[in-house]
Protein backbone atom coordinates (compact mmCIF):
# COMPACT_ATOMS: atom_id res chain seq x y z
CA UNK A 1 0.00 0.00 0.00
CA UNK A 2 1.14 3.53 -0.70
CA UNK A 3 0.63 6.32 1.76
CA UNK A 4 0.24 10.01 0.95
CA UNK A 5 2.67 12.36 2.65
CA UNK A 6 0.77 14.80 4.89
CA UNK A 7 1.49 17.80 2.66
CA UNK A 8 0.14 15.86 -0.32
CA UNK A 9 -3.29 15.20 1.13
CA UNK A 10 -4.34 18.26 3.05
CA UNK A 11 -7.76 18.68 1.56
CA UNK A 12 -7.63 22.46 1.95
CA UNK A 13 -5.13 22.69 -0.90
CA UNK A 14 -5.92 19.55 -2.91
CA UNK A 15 -9.22 18.71 -4.52
CA UNK A 16 -10.50 15.25 -3.76
CA UNK A 17 -12.02 13.24 -6.56
CA UNK A 18 -14.81 10.70 -6.21
CA UNK A 19 -15.02 7.65 -8.41
CA UNK A 20 -16.25 4.09 -8.19
CA UNK A 21 -13.97 1.08 -8.00
CA UNK A 22 -15.60 -2.27 -8.83
CA UNK A 23 -18.95 -0.75 -7.96
CA UNK A 24 -17.97 0.75 -4.60
CA UNK A 25 -17.44 4.45 -3.91
CA UNK A 26 -13.77 5.47 -3.69
CA UNK A 27 -11.74 8.65 -3.39
CA UNK A 28 -8.51 10.02 -4.78
CA UNK A 29 -6.94 13.43 -5.40
CA UNK A 30 -6.58 15.71 -8.40
CA UNK A 31 -3.21 14.97 -9.97
CA UNK A 32 -3.51 11.21 -9.39
CA UNK A 33 -3.53 8.83 -12.27
CA UNK A 34 -6.03 5.97 -11.95
CA UNK A 35 -3.17 3.58 -11.09
CA UNK A 36 -1.84 5.90 -8.37
CA UNK A 37 -5.28 6.27 -6.79
CA UNK A 38 -5.67 2.48 -6.69
CA UNK A 39 -2.27 2.02 -5.05
CA UNK A 40 -3.16 4.59 -2.38
CA UNK A 41 -6.27 2.53 -1.67
CA UNK A 42 -4.13 -0.55 -1.08
CA UNK A 43 -4.91 -2.19 -4.41
CA UNK A 44 -1.53 -3.56 -5.41
CA UNK A 45 -3.29 -5.84 -7.92
CA UNK A 46 -5.38 -4.32 -10.68
CA UNK A 47 -5.82 -7.12 -13.18
CA UNK A 48 -5.44 -10.79 -14.01
CA UNK A 49 -3.30 -11.60 -17.02
CA UNK A 50 -4.81 -12.75 -20.29
CA UNK A 51 -2.47 -15.74 -20.63
CA UNK A 52 -2.43 -17.45 -17.22
CA UNK A 53 -4.80 -15.39 -15.10
CA UNK A 54 -2.07 -14.41 -12.62
CA UNK A 55 -2.53 -11.25 -10.59
CA UNK A 56 -0.57 -8.17 -11.67
CA UNK A 57 -0.22 -4.59 -10.58
CA UNK A 58 1.50 -1.51 -12.00
CA UNK A 59 5.22 -2.08 -12.58
CA UNK A 60 6.59 0.98 -14.41
CA UNK A 61 4.06 3.80 -13.88
CA UNK A 62 5.20 5.34 -17.17
CA UNK A 63 3.23 3.61 -19.87
CA UNK A 64 5.73 0.89 -20.76
CA UNK A 65 4.72 -2.40 -19.14
CA UNK A 66 0.92 -2.52 -19.62
CA UNK A 67 0.55 -4.27 -16.27
CA UNK A 68 -1.75 -1.51 -14.99
CA UNK A 69 -4.57 -2.33 -17.42
CA UNK A 70 -8.06 -1.62 -16.06
CA UNK A 71 -11.54 -1.02 -17.41
CA UNK A 72 -12.37 2.70 -17.31
CA UNK A 73 -15.89 3.95 -18.04
CA UNK A 74 -16.65 0.67 -19.76
CA UNK A 75 -13.56 0.70 -22.00
CA UNK A 76 -11.13 -2.15 -21.36
CA UNK A 77 -7.31 -2.29 -21.66
CA UNK A 78 -6.78 1.31 -20.51
CA UNK A 79 -3.35 2.05 -19.03
CA UNK A 80 -4.24 3.20 -15.53
CA UNK A 81 -0.85 4.86 -15.06
CA UNK A 82 -1.47 7.24 -17.97
CA UNK A 83 -5.11 8.16 -17.41
CA UNK A 84 -5.76 11.05 -15.01
CA UNK A 85 -8.41 10.33 -12.39
CA UNK A 86 -11.64 12.27 -13.03
CA UNK A 87 -14.73 12.92 -10.95
CA UNK A 88 -17.39 10.25 -11.47
CA UNK A 89 -15.12 7.78 -13.26
CA UNK A 90 -16.15 4.13 -13.20
CA UNK A 91 -13.09 1.94 -12.73
CA UNK A 92 -13.10 -1.87 -12.75
CA UNK A 93 -10.30 -4.39 -12.36
CA UNK A 94 -9.76 -6.33 -15.55
CA UNK A 95 -9.97 -10.11 -15.60
CA UNK A 96 -7.96 -11.50 -18.51
CA UNK A 97 -8.37 -10.18 -22.05
CA UNK A 98 -10.27 -7.12 -23.07
CA UNK A 99 -13.82 -8.18 -23.86
CA UNK A 100 -15.06 -7.54 -27.38
CA UNK A 101 -17.05 -4.34 -27.43
CA UNK A 102 -15.60 -2.89 -24.22
Amino acid sequence: MFQRLPEACDSASRTSIHFTLDGLPAEGFAGDTVAAALLALGRDTCRQTAVSGSPRGPYCMMGVCFDCLVVIDGVGNRQGCLVPLREGMVVETQAGKREIGR
Binding site: Q3, L5, C9, T33, R56, G57, V64, F66, L82
Partner: protein, 479 residues
Protein backbone atom coordinates in the same frame (compact mmCIF):
# COMPACT_ATOMS: atom_id res chain seq x y z
CA UNK B 1 2.79 27.95 -25.42
CA UNK B 2 -0.54 26.87 -26.85
CA UNK B 3 -2.03 23.84 -25.17
CA UNK B 4 -4.02 21.62 -27.54
CA UNK B 5 -6.72 19.43 -26.02
CA UNK B 6 -7.64 17.08 -28.85
CA UNK B 7 -6.50 15.92 -32.25
CA UNK B 8 -9.04 18.17 -33.98
CA UNK B 9 -7.00 21.15 -32.68
CA UNK B 10 -4.01 20.01 -34.76
CA UNK B 11 -2.83 21.56 -38.00
CA UNK B 12 -2.19 19.08 -40.80
CA UNK B 13 1.52 19.96 -40.78
CA UNK B 14 4.22 21.64 -38.73
CA UNK B 15 7.80 22.71 -39.36
CA UNK B 16 9.00 20.55 -36.49
CA UNK B 17 7.27 17.80 -34.52
CA UNK B 18 9.00 16.90 -31.26
CA UNK B 19 8.02 13.68 -29.47
CA UNK B 20 8.50 13.65 -25.70
CA UNK B 21 8.35 16.55 -23.23
CA UNK B 22 11.24 15.59 -20.99
CA UNK B 23 14.41 17.70 -20.68
CA UNK B 24 15.54 17.00 -24.26
CA UNK B 25 12.14 17.47 -25.89
CA UNK B 26 11.31 20.65 -23.97
CA UNK B 27 14.70 22.15 -24.91
CA UNK B 28 14.47 21.12 -28.57
CA UNK B 29 10.95 22.50 -28.95
CA UNK B 30 11.70 25.75 -27.12
CA UNK B 31 14.88 26.32 -29.14
CA UNK B 32 13.25 25.61 -32.50
CA UNK B 33 10.30 27.89 -31.70
CA UNK B 34 12.67 30.67 -30.63
CA UNK B 35 13.93 30.75 -34.22
CA UNK B 36 10.44 31.28 -35.57
CA UNK B 37 9.55 27.71 -36.49
CA UNK B 38 6.09 26.25 -36.03
CA UNK B 39 6.62 23.50 -33.50
CA UNK B 40 4.34 20.76 -32.22
CA UNK B 41 5.42 19.03 -28.99
CA UNK B 42 3.58 15.75 -28.38
CA UNK B 43 3.72 13.92 -25.07
CA UNK B 44 2.09 10.96 -23.39
CA UNK B 45 1.86 12.58 -19.94
CA UNK B 46 -0.63 15.24 -18.91
CA UNK B 47 2.00 17.84 -17.98
CA UNK B 48 5.52 18.58 -19.21
CA UNK B 49 8.70 17.28 -17.57
CA UNK B 50 9.17 13.72 -18.81
CA UNK B 51 10.07 11.15 -16.18
CA UNK B 52 12.92 13.01 -14.52
CA UNK B 53 10.91 16.23 -14.03
CA UNK B 54 7.61 14.36 -13.80
CA UNK B 55 4.74 16.64 -12.68
CA UNK B 56 7.17 19.56 -12.25
CA UNK B 57 4.37 22.09 -12.82
CA UNK B 58 1.84 20.37 -10.56
CA UNK B 59 3.51 18.18 -7.93
CA UNK B 60 1.71 18.35 -4.57
CA UNK B 61 5.07 18.35 -2.74
CA UNK B 62 6.07 21.76 -1.42
CA UNK B 63 9.04 20.77 0.75
CA UNK B 64 11.83 21.09 -1.83
CA UNK B 65 14.14 18.92 0.28
CA UNK B 66 12.25 15.74 -0.58
CA UNK B 67 12.83 15.64 -4.31
CA UNK B 68 16.01 17.72 -4.19
CA UNK B 69 17.28 20.73 -6.12
CA UNK B 70 18.10 18.71 -9.24
CA UNK B 71 14.39 18.03 -9.61
CA UNK B 72 13.36 21.63 -9.07
CA UNK B 73 15.79 22.80 -11.73
CA UNK B 74 13.28 21.33 -14.18
CA UNK B 75 10.93 24.20 -13.35
CA UNK B 76 13.05 26.68 -15.33
CA UNK B 77 12.95 24.44 -18.41
CA UNK B 78 9.18 24.06 -18.10
CA UNK B 79 8.79 27.84 -17.66
CA UNK B 80 10.76 28.51 -20.85
CA UNK B 81 8.48 26.10 -22.65
CA UNK B 82 5.36 27.79 -21.21
CA UNK B 83 6.66 31.16 -22.42
CA UNK B 84 7.48 29.87 -25.93
CA UNK B 85 5.36 29.69 -29.06
CA UNK B 86 5.27 25.87 -29.00
CA UNK B 87 2.00 24.00 -29.68
CA UNK B 88 1.82 21.37 -26.95
CA UNK B 89 -0.35 18.25 -27.18
CA UNK B 90 -0.35 16.33 -23.87
CA UNK B 91 -1.99 12.99 -23.11
CA UNK B 92 -1.24 11.79 -26.63
CA UNK B 93 -0.13 8.46 -28.03
CA UNK B 94 2.28 8.48 -30.96
CA UNK B 95 1.68 5.19 -32.72
CA UNK B 96 3.21 5.80 -36.12
CA UNK B 97 6.12 7.53 -37.82
CA UNK B 98 7.50 6.80 -41.27
CA UNK B 99 10.38 7.97 -43.42
CA UNK B 100 8.02 10.46 -45.09
CA UNK B 101 7.80 12.18 -41.67
CA UNK B 102 4.13 11.41 -41.26
CA UNK B 103 2.99 10.86 -37.69
CA UNK B 104 -0.03 8.94 -36.44
CA UNK B 105 -1.28 10.43 -33.16
CA UNK B 106 -4.19 9.73 -30.94
CA UNK B 107 -5.82 11.43 -27.96
CA UNK B 108 -8.79 10.12 -25.98
CA UNK B 109 -9.76 7.53 -28.59
CA UNK B 110 -9.50 9.82 -31.66
CA UNK B 111 -6.64 9.59 -34.12
CA UNK B 112 -5.13 11.97 -36.68
CA UNK B 113 -2.18 12.20 -39.05
CA UNK B 114 0.30 15.07 -38.94
CA UNK B 115 3.22 15.75 -41.27
CA UNK B 116 6.50 17.35 -40.20
CA UNK B 117 9.34 18.95 -42.14
CA UNK B 118 11.70 17.79 -39.37
CA UNK B 119 11.03 15.24 -36.64
CA UNK B 120 12.85 15.28 -33.31
CA UNK B 121 12.43 12.14 -31.20
CA UNK B 122 13.09 12.75 -27.52
CA UNK B 123 11.50 9.57 -26.24
CA UNK B 124 13.81 9.27 -23.25
CA UNK B 125 14.84 6.23 -21.30
CA UNK B 126 13.23 3.10 -19.94
CA UNK B 127 14.32 1.19 -16.89
CA UNK B 128 16.27 -1.87 -17.91
CA UNK B 129 14.35 -5.11 -17.41
CA UNK B 130 15.20 -7.01 -14.23
CA UNK B 131 14.10 -10.54 -15.13
CA UNK B 132 14.43 -12.35 -11.80
CA UNK B 133 11.94 -14.91 -10.57
CA UNK B 134 8.94 -13.13 -9.08
CA UNK B 135 9.47 -9.69 -10.65
CA UNK B 136 5.89 -9.88 -11.92
CA UNK B 137 4.30 -10.29 -8.46
CA UNK B 138 1.99 -7.54 -7.22
CA UNK B 139 3.95 -5.43 -4.73
CA UNK B 140 7.05 -5.58 -6.90
CA UNK B 141 7.61 -2.53 -9.06
CA UNK B 142 10.45 -0.56 -10.54
CA UNK B 143 12.24 2.10 -8.51
CA UNK B 144 11.25 4.61 -11.16
CA UNK B 145 7.58 3.75 -10.61
CA UNK B 146 7.87 4.53 -6.90
CA UNK B 147 9.61 7.77 -7.78
CA UNK B 148 6.80 8.72 -10.15
CA UNK B 149 4.26 8.15 -7.38
CA UNK B 150 6.30 10.39 -5.10
CA UNK B 151 6.65 13.19 -7.64
CA UNK B 152 3.17 13.18 -9.11
CA UNK B 153 1.05 12.19 -6.12
CA UNK B 154 3.26 12.71 -3.06
CA UNK B 155 3.01 9.02 -2.14
CA UNK B 156 5.53 6.75 -0.43
CA UNK B 157 5.47 2.96 -0.08
CA UNK B 158 4.36 1.82 3.36
CA UNK B 159 5.72 -0.97 5.56
CA UNK B 160 8.88 -2.93 4.82
CA UNK B 161 10.33 -1.48 1.65
CA UNK B 162 13.30 -3.18 0.03
CA UNK B 163 15.21 -1.64 -2.88
CA UNK B 164 17.26 -4.04 -4.96
CA UNK B 165 19.63 -3.57 -7.85
CA UNK B 166 22.19 -1.05 -8.97
CA UNK B 167 22.54 2.38 -10.56
CA UNK B 168 22.32 6.06 -9.64
CA UNK B 169 18.50 6.13 -9.69
CA UNK B 170 18.28 3.46 -7.00
CA UNK B 171 20.35 5.61 -4.67
CA UNK B 172 18.51 8.77 -5.63
CA UNK B 173 15.16 7.18 -4.79
CA UNK B 174 16.53 5.91 -1.47
CA UNK B 175 17.72 9.39 -0.57
CA UNK B 176 14.37 10.92 -1.53
CA UNK B 177 12.55 8.40 0.67
CA UNK B 178 14.94 9.25 3.51
CA UNK B 179 14.27 12.96 3.01
CA UNK B 180 10.53 12.28 3.01
CA UNK B 181 10.89 10.69 6.44
CA UNK B 182 10.24 7.15 5.17
CA UNK B 183 13.63 5.50 4.75
CA UNK B 184 13.51 2.10 3.06
CA UNK B 185 14.22 -0.97 5.19
CA UNK B 186 17.18 -2.14 3.14
CA UNK B 187 19.02 -1.87 -0.14
CA UNK B 188 20.22 -5.10 -1.72
CA UNK B 189 23.11 -3.89 -3.85
CA UNK B 190 23.71 -6.04 -6.94
CA UNK B 191 26.55 -3.87 -8.30
CA UNK B 192 29.20 -6.42 -9.34
CA UNK B 193 32.18 -5.96 -7.02
CA UNK B 194 34.55 -6.36 -9.97
CA UNK B 195 33.14 -3.22 -11.61
CA UNK B 196 35.46 -1.03 -9.58
CA UNK B 197 38.42 -2.48 -11.46
CA UNK B 198 36.96 -1.40 -14.80
CA UNK B 199 35.71 1.94 -13.49
CA UNK B 200 38.89 3.12 -11.86
CA UNK B 201 40.56 4.25 -15.06
CA UNK B 202 37.64 6.60 -15.74
CA UNK B 203 37.89 8.00 -12.22
CA UNK B 204 40.02 11.09 -13.06
CA UNK B 205 37.28 12.34 -15.40
CA UNK B 206 34.63 11.72 -12.77
CA UNK B 207 36.67 13.69 -10.22
CA UNK B 208 36.52 16.74 -12.46
CA UNK B 209 32.79 16.39 -13.24
CA UNK B 210 29.82 17.88 -11.40
CA UNK B 211 28.68 14.35 -10.57
CA UNK B 212 31.29 13.81 -7.84
CA UNK B 213 29.92 16.18 -5.21
CA UNK B 214 26.33 15.19 -5.96
CA UNK B 215 27.08 11.48 -5.75
CA UNK B 216 28.95 11.68 -2.47
CA UNK B 217 26.22 13.67 -0.75
CA UNK B 218 23.64 11.18 -1.91
CA UNK B 219 25.53 8.08 -0.82
CA UNK B 220 26.27 9.52 2.61
CA UNK B 221 22.71 10.48 3.28
CA UNK B 222 21.48 7.01 2.34
CA UNK B 223 24.18 5.04 4.15
CA UNK B 224 23.47 6.89 7.39
CA UNK B 225 19.80 5.93 7.35
CA UNK B 226 19.48 2.65 5.48
CA UNK B 227 20.90 -0.86 5.84
CA UNK B 228 22.89 -1.59 2.71
CA UNK B 229 23.62 -5.22 1.81
CA UNK B 230 26.47 -5.20 -0.73
CA UNK B 231 27.62 -7.89 -3.12
CA UNK B 232 24.28 -9.56 -3.84
CA UNK B 233 24.86 -12.12 -6.61
CA UNK B 234 21.56 -14.03 -6.75
CA UNK B 235 18.04 -12.78 -6.23
CA UNK B 236 14.57 -14.27 -6.40
CA UNK B 237 11.23 -13.01 -5.14
CA UNK B 238 8.57 -15.35 -3.79
CA UNK B 239 5.04 -14.62 -2.66
CA UNK B 240 5.16 -14.10 1.12
CA UNK B 241 2.85 -15.76 3.62
CA UNK B 242 2.26 -12.66 5.74
CA UNK B 243 3.72 -10.03 3.41
CA UNK B 244 3.57 -9.21 -0.29
CA UNK B 245 6.92 -10.75 -1.08
CA UNK B 246 9.85 -12.60 0.32
CA UNK B 247 13.28 -11.91 -1.14
CA UNK B 248 15.69 -14.82 -1.34
CA UNK B 249 19.25 -13.75 -2.08
CA UNK B 250 22.84 -14.92 -2.07
CA UNK B 251 26.06 -13.08 -1.49
CA UNK B 252 28.70 -15.05 -3.33
CA UNK B 253 29.22 -18.43 -1.70
CA UNK B 254 27.32 -17.62 1.48
CA UNK B 255 24.12 -19.55 2.21
CA UNK B 256 20.80 -18.13 1.05
CA UNK B 257 19.35 -15.26 3.08
CA UNK B 258 15.68 -14.26 3.22
CA UNK B 259 14.00 -10.92 3.77
CA UNK B 260 10.30 -10.14 4.06
CA UNK B 261 8.95 -7.11 2.22
CA UNK B 262 5.68 -5.29 1.64
CA UNK B 263 7.20 -3.54 -1.36
CA UNK B 264 10.12 -4.53 -3.55
CA UNK B 265 11.51 -1.80 -5.79
CA UNK B 266 13.83 -3.04 -8.54
CA UNK B 267 16.26 -1.11 -10.69
CA UNK B 268 19.34 -1.81 -12.76
CA UNK B 269 19.90 1.24 -14.88
CA UNK B 270 18.13 2.76 -17.84
CA UNK B 271 18.31 2.22 -21.59
CA UNK B 272 17.09 4.30 -24.56
CA UNK B 273 13.45 3.90 -25.52
CA UNK B 274 14.00 3.04 -29.18
CA UNK B 275 10.58 1.77 -30.22
CA UNK B 276 9.40 4.72 -32.29
CA UNK B 277 12.80 5.25 -33.95
CA UNK B 278 13.04 1.54 -34.69
CA UNK B 279 9.56 1.37 -36.22
CA UNK B 280 10.33 4.44 -38.35
CA UNK B 281 13.27 2.50 -39.75
CA UNK B 282 16.16 4.34 -38.05
CA UNK B 283 19.30 2.20 -37.80
CA UNK B 284 20.26 0.99 -34.32
CA UNK B 285 23.69 0.16 -32.92
CA UNK B 286 24.80 -1.87 -29.90
CA UNK B 287 26.68 -0.13 -27.10
CA UNK B 288 28.83 -2.61 -25.20
CA UNK B 289 29.61 -0.13 -22.42
CA UNK B 290 25.95 0.67 -21.74
CA UNK B 291 24.77 -2.83 -22.72
CA UNK B 292 21.91 -1.58 -24.86
CA UNK B 293 20.83 -0.71 -28.37
CA UNK B 294 20.59 2.93 -29.36
CA UNK B 295 19.67 4.69 -32.59
CA UNK B 296 22.69 5.65 -34.65
CA UNK B 297 23.02 9.44 -34.62
CA UNK B 298 25.57 12.17 -35.32
CA UNK B 299 26.68 15.18 -33.28
CA UNK B 300 23.40 16.98 -34.06
CA UNK B 301 21.29 13.95 -33.32
CA UNK B 302 20.54 13.20 -36.98
CA UNK B 303 19.54 9.57 -37.44
CA UNK B 304 20.05 7.35 -40.47
CA UNK B 305 16.78 8.71 -41.91
CA UNK B 306 16.78 12.14 -43.52
CA UNK B 307 14.75 14.59 -41.43
CA UNK B 308 14.55 12.49 -38.24
CA UNK B 309 16.76 13.53 -35.34
CA UNK B 310 16.96 11.62 -32.08
CA UNK B 311 18.11 13.37 -28.96
CA UNK B 312 18.38 13.10 -25.19
CA UNK B 313 18.49 9.78 -23.36
CA UNK B 314 16.47 8.25 -26.21
CA UNK B 315 19.64 8.31 -28.30
CA UNK B 316 22.31 7.83 -25.63
CA UNK B 317 21.98 7.54 -21.86
CA UNK B 318 23.73 10.56 -20.39
CA UNK B 319 21.41 12.07 -17.77
CA UNK B 320 19.07 15.05 -17.61
CA UNK B 321 21.66 17.83 -17.91
CA UNK B 322 23.23 16.49 -21.09
CA UNK B 323 19.81 15.54 -22.46
CA UNK B 324 18.61 19.15 -22.24
CA UNK B 325 21.78 20.47 -23.86
CA UNK B 326 21.61 17.94 -26.68
CA UNK B 327 17.93 18.76 -27.14
CA UNK B 328 18.93 22.37 -27.66
CA UNK B 329 21.44 21.30 -30.33
CA UNK B 330 18.72 19.37 -32.16
CA UNK B 331 16.51 22.48 -32.05
CA UNK B 332 19.31 24.63 -33.49
CA UNK B 333 20.00 22.12 -36.23
CA UNK B 334 16.32 22.04 -37.21
CA UNK B 335 16.33 25.84 -37.42
CA UNK B 336 19.39 25.67 -39.65
CA UNK B 337 18.00 22.93 -41.89
CA UNK B 338 14.76 24.86 -42.32
CA UNK B 339 16.58 28.00 -43.38
CA UNK B 340 16.35 30.12 -40.24
CA UNK B 341 20.13 30.44 -39.95
CA UNK B 342 23.22 29.31 -41.80
CA UNK B 343 25.56 26.60 -40.62
CA UNK B 344 28.08 29.11 -39.36
CA UNK B 345 25.55 30.81 -37.09
CA UNK B 346 24.36 27.43 -35.87
CA UNK B 347 27.88 26.27 -35.03
CA UNK B 348 28.60 29.49 -33.18
CA UNK B 349 25.49 29.11 -31.03
CA UNK B 350 26.31 25.44 -30.47
CA UNK B 351 29.88 25.95 -29.27
CA UNK B 352 29.11 26.97 -25.66
CA UNK B 353 26.48 24.20 -25.45
CA UNK B 354 29.02 21.62 -26.54
CA UNK B 355 31.48 22.91 -23.95
CA UNK B 356 28.92 22.34 -21.19
CA UNK B 357 28.13 18.87 -22.49
CA UNK B 358 31.84 18.05 -22.28
CA UNK B 359 31.94 19.05 -18.59
CA UNK B 360 29.24 16.54 -17.72
CA UNK B 361 30.44 13.90 -20.16
CA UNK B 362 33.73 13.65 -18.27
CA UNK B 363 31.93 11.91 -15.43
CA UNK B 364 29.68 9.57 -17.40
CA UNK B 365 32.11 6.83 -18.31
CA UNK B 366 32.90 6.17 -14.67
CA UNK B 367 29.20 5.88 -13.83
CA UNK B 368 28.58 3.63 -16.83
CA UNK B 369 31.39 1.30 -15.83
CA UNK B 370 30.68 1.29 -12.11
CA UNK B 371 26.96 0.60 -12.44
CA UNK B 372 27.04 -1.77 -15.41
CA UNK B 373 24.68 -4.56 -14.29
CA UNK B 374 26.10 -8.06 -14.25
CA UNK B 375 25.45 -10.50 -17.11
CA UNK B 376 23.77 -12.71 -14.57
CA UNK B 377 21.04 -10.19 -13.79
CA UNK B 378 20.61 -9.08 -17.40
CA UNK B 379 19.93 -12.62 -18.57
CA UNK B 380 16.54 -14.04 -17.59
CA UNK B 381 16.46 -16.59 -14.79
CA UNK B 382 14.96 -19.92 -15.80
CA UNK B 383 11.83 -19.33 -13.77
CA UNK B 384 11.51 -15.60 -14.48
CA UNK B 385 9.08 -14.30 -17.08
CA UNK B 386 11.37 -12.76 -19.68
CA UNK B 387 8.31 -11.52 -21.58
CA UNK B 388 5.78 -10.29 -19.05
CA UNK B 389 2.96 -9.84 -21.57
CA UNK B 390 3.00 -13.25 -23.24
CA UNK B 391 4.40 -14.96 -20.14
CA UNK B 392 7.47 -16.55 -21.68
CA UNK B 393 10.07 -17.78 -19.19
CA UNK B 394 13.85 -17.64 -19.36
CA UNK B 395 13.91 -21.43 -19.58
CA UNK B 396 11.63 -21.44 -22.65
CA UNK B 397 13.85 -18.84 -24.32
CA UNK B 398 16.94 -20.92 -23.69
CA UNK B 399 15.34 -24.15 -24.89
CA UNK B 400 14.23 -22.54 -28.12
CA UNK B 401 17.52 -20.69 -28.57
CA UNK B 402 19.28 -24.06 -28.32
CA UNK B 403 17.35 -25.21 -31.41
CA UNK B 404 19.37 -22.67 -33.36
CA UNK B 405 17.02 -19.68 -33.48
CA UNK B 406 19.19 -16.91 -34.91
CA UNK B 407 17.58 -13.78 -33.45
CA UNK B 408 14.74 -12.12 -31.57
CA UNK B 409 12.44 -11.87 -34.59
CA UNK B 410 12.46 -15.62 -35.11
CA UNK B 411 12.01 -16.06 -31.35
CA UNK B 412 8.88 -13.96 -31.68
CA UNK B 413 7.36 -16.40 -34.20
CA UNK B 414 8.23 -19.37 -32.00
CA UNK B 415 7.18 -18.09 -28.57
CA UNK B 416 5.19 -14.88 -29.14
CA UNK B 417 7.61 -12.95 -26.94
CA UNK B 418 7.45 -9.26 -27.78
CA UNK B 419 4.00 -9.60 -29.33
CA UNK B 420 1.93 -8.47 -26.35
CA UNK B 421 0.70 -4.94 -25.72
CA UNK B 422 4.10 -3.56 -24.64
CA UNK B 423 5.45 -4.45 -28.10
CA UNK B 424 8.78 -5.67 -26.80
CA UNK B 425 9.63 -2.55 -24.80
CA UNK B 426 10.23 -4.56 -21.66
CA UNK B 427 11.53 -7.86 -23.04
CA UNK B 428 13.55 -6.69 -26.07
CA UNK B 429 16.96 -6.53 -24.45
CA UNK B 430 16.40 -9.66 -22.37
CA UNK B 431 15.46 -11.73 -25.41
CA UNK B 432 18.36 -10.38 -27.50
CA UNK B 433 20.89 -11.04 -24.76
CA UNK B 434 19.51 -14.53 -24.09
CA UNK B 435 19.80 -15.46 -27.77
CA UNK B 436 23.29 -13.90 -27.98
CA UNK B 437 24.43 -15.84 -24.92
CA UNK B 438 23.03 -19.10 -26.32
CA UNK B 439 24.80 -18.53 -29.63
CA UNK B 440 27.99 -17.29 -27.98
CA UNK B 441 28.01 -14.06 -29.99
CA UNK B 442 27.56 -10.34 -29.24
CA UNK B 443 24.07 -8.80 -29.23
CA UNK B 444 25.40 -6.64 -32.07
CA UNK B 445 25.39 -9.79 -34.24
CA UNK B 446 21.94 -10.84 -33.12
CA UNK B 447 20.20 -7.49 -33.70
CA UNK B 448 17.03 -6.12 -32.15
CA UNK B 449 13.32 -6.71 -32.78
CA UNK B 450 12.18 -5.27 -36.09
CA UNK B 451 9.23 -3.20 -34.92
CA UNK B 452 6.38 -1.93 -37.02
CA UNK B 453 3.66 0.57 -36.41
CA UNK B 454 1.38 0.86 -34.61
CA UNK B 455 4.03 0.99 -31.86
CA UNK B 456 1.30 1.36 -29.27
CA UNK B 457 -2.00 -0.51 -29.38
CA UNK B 458 -4.84 1.46 -30.93
CA UNK B 459 -8.29 0.27 -31.83
CA UNK B 460 -9.71 -0.04 -35.32
CA UNK B 461 -12.33 2.49 -34.21
CA UNK B 462 -9.54 5.01 -33.55
CA UNK B 463 -8.13 4.51 -37.03
CA UNK B 464 -11.63 4.78 -38.46
CA UNK B 465 -12.03 8.11 -36.65
CA UNK B 466 -9.26 9.65 -38.75
CA UNK B 467 -10.32 12.35 -41.15
CA UNK B 468 -10.23 11.01 -44.70
CA UNK B 469 -10.46 12.37 -48.20
CA UNK B 470 -12.56 11.00 -51.05
CA UNK B 471 -9.40 9.60 -52.66
CA UNK B 472 -8.62 7.58 -49.49
CA UNK B 473 -12.03 5.95 -49.66
CA UNK B 474 -11.69 5.25 -53.35
CA UNK B 475 -8.46 3.43 -52.67
CA UNK B 476 -10.23 0.75 -50.64
CA UNK B 477 -13.77 0.69 -52.06
CA UNK B 478 -14.68 -1.67 -54.86
CA UNK B 479 -17.03 -0.07 -57.33
Amino acid sequence: MTRLEQVSDLQPSYDVVVVGAGPAGMAAATEAAAHGLEVLLVDEAVSPGGQIFRAITQTPLRNREVLGEDYWRGRAAADSLLASGVHYLPGATVWHLDAGLQFGLSVGGRAAAVTARRAVLATGALERPFPVKGWTLPGVMSAGAAQTLLKASGMVPQGRVVLAGTGPLLWLLASQLVAAGHPPTAILDTTPTGNWRHAVRAFPGFLRSPYLAKGLRLLMRVRRAVRVVPGVTELAIEPGASCAAELVFHRGMRPAERMAADHVLLHQGVTPNVNLANAAGCALEWSELQACFRPRSDAWGRSSIEGIAITGDGSRIAGAEIAALRGQLAGLDAACELGRMDAEARDKLAAPIRARIATYDRGREFLDRLYRPSDHFRLPHDEALACRCEEVTGRQLREVAALGVPGPNQMKSMLRCGMGPCQGRLCGLTVVEAVAAARGVSPADVGYYRLRSPVKPITVAEIASMPRKASDEKAVLRV
